[in-house]
């Protein structure tokens, strides 16, 4: 019977071509959406590499006051560290966790190999105390690095280590820029750092040691020093008011805005999820349209083939056999569409499109195929039942 179905479908290839094309396109759209979902889920399951709970972000606004900014910032940080309830304080660039700011470059080279696009961060020695990085190799920055002259110390994440050094031990390795003017020596490796969002990929990252309070004195008057403060669990509005007051007392009028990283994470999540939800809704409409299309085509097919159904019943087919045949035909047509779609989708992992893991694409292919088969089976079920219930004498007479 399977051979018979293939013969029938092959001989009806012209009329089946559009149906197969529709299934192919639907599969491909589902594959793209599935890739996005699987990739997001895959990222979501990865460790973020840092702890954001009980961490506050303080945006300090000096306004037009540029005088003694370095001293002001240093004094401010001292005062904050001395405040009861504060565990640690660090100063960072604008690309804090969950910020809408990123800084990246692919200028890093090792033995002629160029790094992929890598996120870079300016950090100070206290950052691990605030964000609780998990160092897997070497160490974080400390006073030993004050003496570094030729090779600037850097810390990288495991992803960057794998990309640049493969199986080689990363510690002590020296990265250069394209002209080999700048040299950066790896002193430590953190396992992961995904500050973008819960769904962000674990991209390569490199950390530079920087005296940000120094830098803060040279920048545009509108640029705001950003502090990350780890506080004791349970700290709330009282501590927040204390910190703001201290900043204002020390700086004589600088403004400070305090957010928790948890709030920032929540805000970022909304922004990240919005296009995902929009895409999901669009895909849902598409799937509904495809389902209605398939349903209509099958319904039409059955009406067109009533005489054939009657004939098959006359020749010995049971009602359920007719239903199974229609379902089987639809599944064979679906298989042909899905096979063509798999050939197309397989190019993504083979060509490394978008730099996603091959596993993501393979899972997306499986998910899309399962969805298409379930969809067509659901759409074919009712028309097949109708076909199974057609009275042979009636359908033969209609011809």
């Amino acid at each position: 019977m399977i051979r018979h179905l293939f013969t029938l479908i092959w001989n009806r290839k012209r009329s089946n071509f559009l149906l197969i094309s529709e299934i192919l396109l639907s599969f491909f759209v589902l594959f793209v959406v599935s890739s996005l979902l699987v990739s997001s889920y895959y990222n979501y399951r990865q460790p973020t590499g840092f702890a954001y709970d009980n961490v506050w972000e303080i945006n300090v606004s000096p306004g037009q006051d540029t005088a003694n900014r370095k001293e002001m910032v240093q004094l401010m940080m001292q005062q904050l560290r001395a405040t009861p309830g504060v565990v640690a304080v660090t100063i960072t660039g604008s690309n804090t966790p969950f910020a809408f700011s990123t800084m990246n470059s692919n200028q890093y080279m090792y033995k002629g190999k160029q790094a992929p696009m890598t996120d870079w961060y300016r950090v100070d020695d206290d950052m691990p105390k605030v964000l609780k990085f998990n160092l897997t190799h070497g160490r974080w920055f400390d006073r030993r690095d004050d003496a570094a002259t030729n090779n600037e110390p850097v810390v990288i994440n495991q992803k960057m280590a794998s990309e640049m050094f493969g199986q080689e031990a990363p510690l002590g390795k020296v990265l250069t820029d394209r002209e080999s003017k700048a040299k950066w020596q790896v002193v430590g490796v953190v396992d992961a750092y995904r500050p973008g969002s819960a769904f962000a990929a674990n991209d390569p990252a490199i950390f530079f040691r920087d005296d940000l309070s120094e830098a803060a004195t040279k920048v545009d008057p509108n640029e705001r020093p950003i502090l990350l403060v780890r506080v004791q669990p349970g700290s709330g509005a009282v501590l927040e008011q204390q910190l703001v007051k201290k900043i204002q007392n020390v700086t004589k009028g600088w403004h400070a805005i305090v957010n928790t990283l948890e709030e920032n994470r929540h805000d970022k999540m909304k922004v990240v999820l919005t296009p995902l939800v929009a895409l999901g809704v669009v895909s849902l409409f598409l799937i509904i349209n495809v389902a209605l299309g398939l349903f209509g085509v099958l319904w039409y097919n059955i009406n067109q083939r009533k005489a054939e159904i009657g004939l098959r019943r006359a020749l010995g087919a049971t009602g359920s056999g007719i239903g199974t045949q229609f379902l089987g035909e639809m599944l064979v047509v679906t298989t042909l569409g899905v096979l063509a779609g798999v050939v197309l989708a397989a190019q993504f992992p083979l060509l490394g499109v978008f730099g996603l893991e091959p596993t993501v694409y393979i899972l997306a292919i499986i998910l899309a195929a399962v969805l298409i088969f379930v969809l067509t089976a659901i759409c074919a079920f009712q028309p097949s039942r109708i076909a199974a219930g057609i009275q042979p004498a009636v359908s033969l007479r209609e011809e």
């Binding site: 019977m1 051979r3 018979h4 013969t7 029938l8 001989n11 009806r12 005489a307 054939e308 009657g310 004939l311 098959r312 019943r313 006359a314 020749l315 010995g316 087919a317 049971t318 009602g319 359920s320 056999g321 009275q391 042979p392 004498a393 033969l396 007479r397 011809e399």
Partner: protein
């Protein structure tokens, strides 16, 4: 030139024995068929009692709408009577399940239709194989051999790969006959088999049916409007307004 009818693969089995000749193959008792809609009730068959013996070639005649095709549908187990009983080969089939009815249709009955009812997207050979697809336990090789034998019997072994649209009306009806023969049925039900053919083709098809009847002793029930064709059969049953009149 049309290939001549061959008899090399005549269907022969024990059913041709004389001792069975007068046993009933199809027996209809008090058959009524009423078509009912919301407002209209149409009596298609009214208390029909009819017996067709094994190996008999019977024609059914009557004006349009008298219930001939309905009667054939009931004999072929394609429809259920409103009341009455049907026996095929001595067994009452009225209470059979869908699966049992399908099995009887597949093993015992072959159908020939006025409009041929060939599947245009299947080759001649695939069309003839169709009833054998529903026969449990029959392998592809045996199906092919039986289909080829049936096509040879109707003189179309050279057209196996053709599609119905590439054949003449007479050839299409020959394919339909080969399809009916492929399963080696004991009964052939032919609903106006020459109705869509010109007189020459009609004669050819009628000769073919007569040869089959002679050689394989198949029970044949043929609905026809053509008196000359009917007279070639062993018995003519006439219907009028749903009742048998002779």
């Amino acid at each position: 030139m049309e290939p001549t009818l061959t008899t090399s693969h005549a269907l022969t089995d024990s059913r041709a024995t004389t001792s069975l000749k007068n046993t009933p193959m199809i027996k209809l008792s008090e058959i009524e068929k009423v078509y009912q809609t919301d407002t209209i009730e149409t009596v298609a068959l009214n208390r029909v009692n009819l017996t067709i013996n094994r190996g008999e070639f019977v024609s059914i005649m009557g004006p349009s709408g008298c219930g001939k095709s309905t009667l054939l549908s009931l004999m072929g187990l394609l429809d259920e009577p409103t009341s009455g009983t049907i026996e095929i080969d001595g067994r009452p089939v009225t209470s059979y399940s869908d699966k049992e009815l399908a099995k009887v249709r597949n093993h015992k009955i072959g159908f020939i239709f006025q409009s041929f009812h060939l599947i245009n997207d299947l080759s001649v050979l695939d069309n003839v194989e169709l009833p054998l697809l529903y026969r449990a336990g029959m392998g592809g090789k045996e199906r092919r051999q039986r289909a080829l034998a049936a096509l040879e019997k109707v003189g179309l072994s050279a057209r196996t790969k053709h599609f119905p649209s590439q054949l003449s009306g007479g050839q299409r009806q020959r394919v339909a006959i080969a399809r009916a023969l492929a399963g080696a049925p004991e009964i052939i039900l032919a609903d106006e088999p020459t109705g869509n053919l010109d007189s020459v083709m009609g004669e050819e098809i009628m000769e073919l049916l007569l040869t089959l009847h002679r050689e394989a002793n198949t029970t044949i029930v043929m609905v026809t409007h053509d008196e000359s064709m009917a007279l070639k059969t062993e018995r003519v049953i006439r219907f009028f307004d749903g009742s048998q009149v002779s």
